[in-house]
């Protein structure tokens, strides 16, 4: 393993248009086995762009992403089996049943015993009663559970989740959160997670990366961030850090003029 981490990203920068500021600007991060890193920032801060680069499907202008020491941008196929992803923006084929979807992904990830992997995931995520139900007939909460089952069926070493509970009610969110924590602790997988739910981030994260306008504002444990921004909850940290970053940027822009 490189540097004792499953994931190491250095100085990632991505600019989509030459006359716009970079969507991601020099962000570095690392994730260890069994660690939850939450990426938090306002809408348009660059979280999804950062995730796409970490997943190796978006080429950065500069910087590197290494998973188990392998450059995922250049050699994605060498480590793609160790990575998985789920997002509220994605779904799974509606006309396939829960079991059929998991069977497809068990094969796509080349699992040696696909049938057993499907059974395990259905049991772990309480999906057995829905085995024959088509995805199109599932509730949002059930789809979220199925997406997690799909994301974990390949036994990833590192899992990326983009706002997995954004569309869920509080009870379903708590259930998903509990399942996630169990998986992280049991399987010792690294989890990179984005969410706008600050209470959830507080409960789930080992470390939190705050970003604003594509730049890293701060990164640390929950308590370290409370201390840094002199706050007693993450929502206050978020608001204060974002405002501070915006003020700093405006000051820099004025100084340039």
């Amino acid at each position: 393993m490189s540097d004792g981490h499953v994931l190491v990203a250095r100085q990632l920068t991505k600019r989509f248009s030459p006359d716009q500021p970079p969507a991601v600007d020099g962000i570095s991060l690392e994730v260890s086995r069994g660690e939850v890193l939450s990426i938090v920032g306002p809408n348009g801060a660059g979280k999804s762009t950062l995730l796409q680069m970490l997943l190796g499907i978006l080429t950065p202008d500069s910087g590197t992403v290494r998973i188990f020491g392998v450059d995922i941008i250049r050699h994605r196929r060498r480590v793609a089996h160790l990575v998985n992803y789920a997002s509220t923006d994605l779904s799974l084929p509606y006309s396939l049943s829960v079991r059929e979807n998991l069977e497809v992904f068990a094969l796509v990830y080349n699992l040696p015993q696909p049938g057993q992997a499907v059974r395990e995931m259905m049991e772990r995520f309480s999906l057995e009663p829905l085995a024959k139900t088509k995805v199109g007939r599932l509730s949002t909460g059930q789809i979220a559970r199925l997406s997690l089952a799909k994301a974990l069926i390949s036994r990833p070493e590192i899992l990326f989740l983009d706002e997995p509970t954004a569309t869920l009610d509080p009870e379903a969110s708590a259930e998903v959160r509990q399942l996630l924590l169990e998986q992280v602790r049991k399987e010792q997988l690294g989890l990179v997670y984005t969410s706008h739910n600050m209470r959830e981030v507080e409960r789930l994260s080992d470390r939190i990366l705050l970003i604003e306008s594509g730049k890293s504002v701060a990164c640390g444990t929950r308590d370290a961030l409370y201390g840094l921004f002199d706050c007693d909850n993450l929502e206050a940290v978020f608001i204060r850090s974002v405002n501070q970053a915006r003020q700093d940027r405006r000051r820099d822009e004025n100084a340039d003029k």
């Binding site: 989509f16 997943l55 499907i57 978006l58 994605l90």
Partner: protein, 288 residues
């Protein structure tokens, strides 16, 4: 713990009057809203504008050229009918082959699943290869049924083409794959807006594929274009076999050469689109 109850349930209810009248059933403004939605849609969409003119023009060309051919009366009635049915059955194979690839990608886009596959340890080329295999199964089923029905209903056997049927079908399927890959590349590049291409692009080739009429009845410009279309050589070859003039290796050779060029071109386009997508990002939603 006793839950609070609503004491007002039994109280007499006096509702406030409507603050604004309902929208009249025959009001023009909501209708204008629906119309405006379509105007906005078309204002920004070249593929949708193309569709308006595309089908009438192509239908006119295909049926116009067929009329010219029938007017010449070169082939005896039975052979002409055989050529028409044979052309129809083989054309359907080309169409299914192209659709096989495009629709596989579209289904993943429609179900918002493409991104799940992009992050999996498979490449887009795996998806294409899977689509090709699915396409062959679909062609076997659909064309098998059509061939059987043609025999039962019209006493026409496509197998009257003999062994030449095998290379003919192979060449058409390869051309379909090439067009399917090209269409998929355009859908990935321009988003779901370009999905009309999945259903329509193949028909752009129909007037110059000489499906129902020989190349010789086409106007000069169309004849020159037809030379570069693999299907035109196959359908010319089919008519040659049916008219008893034997199998043309030259036509098959040209069809194979252009098939290979089409496949190479479509794979090149597909790889460029993927490279660009990795640079500018894949859309998670891919919608209109």
């Amino acid at each position: 713990m006793k839950m609070p109850t609503n004491d007002l349930e039994s109280a007499p209810v006096e509702s406030l009057p409507l603050t604004r009248p309902p929208v009249p059933l025959f009001s023009l403004r909501p209708l204008a809203g629906i119309l405006l939605r379509q105007v906005y849609l078309y204002r920004r969409s070249i593929p949708r504008w193309m569709e308006i003119f595309y089908w009438p023009l192509l239908d006119l060309l295909v049926w116009g050229f067929l009329t010219l051919y029938l007017r010449q009366g070169v082939l005896p009635g039975t052979t002409a009918a055989q050529a028409l049915l044979g052309g129809l059955l083989l054309w359907d194979m080309l169409y299914r082959s192209q659709q096989g690839i495009s629709v596989v990608f579209l289904e993943e886009i429609w179900s918002r699943n493409l991104y799940n596959l992009m992050v999996a340890p498979v490449t887009p080329y795996h998806i294409i290869a899977g689509a090709m295999m699915t396409g062959i199964l679909k062609i076997t089923l659909s064309s098998g049924t059509a061939i059987l029905l043609a025999y039962l209903l019209f006493s026409y056997s496509l197998f009257s083409l003999g062994l030449s049927l095998i290379p003919f079908v192979l060449c058409l399927v390869i051309m379909g794959w090439a067009l399917g890959i090209m269409t998929t590349a355009l859908i990935l590049r321009f988003g779901q807006e370009a999905e009309v291409l999945a259903w329509g692009v193949i028909f752009l080739f129909q007037p110059v594929s000489a499906v129902f009429n020989p190349v010789s009845v086409l106007p000069e410009g169309f004849r020159q274009i037809a030379f570069f279309v693999p299907a035109s050589h196959i359908f010319e070859g089919m008519r040659q076999v049916l008219s008893g003039r034997g199998f043309s290796w030259l036509q098959l050779g040209w069809a194979l050469v252009f098939d290979l060029l089409y496949v190479a071109g479509s794979l090149f386009l597909f790889s460029r689109v993927l490279k660009r997508a990795r640079k500018v990002g894949f859309s998670l939603k891919l919608g209109s």
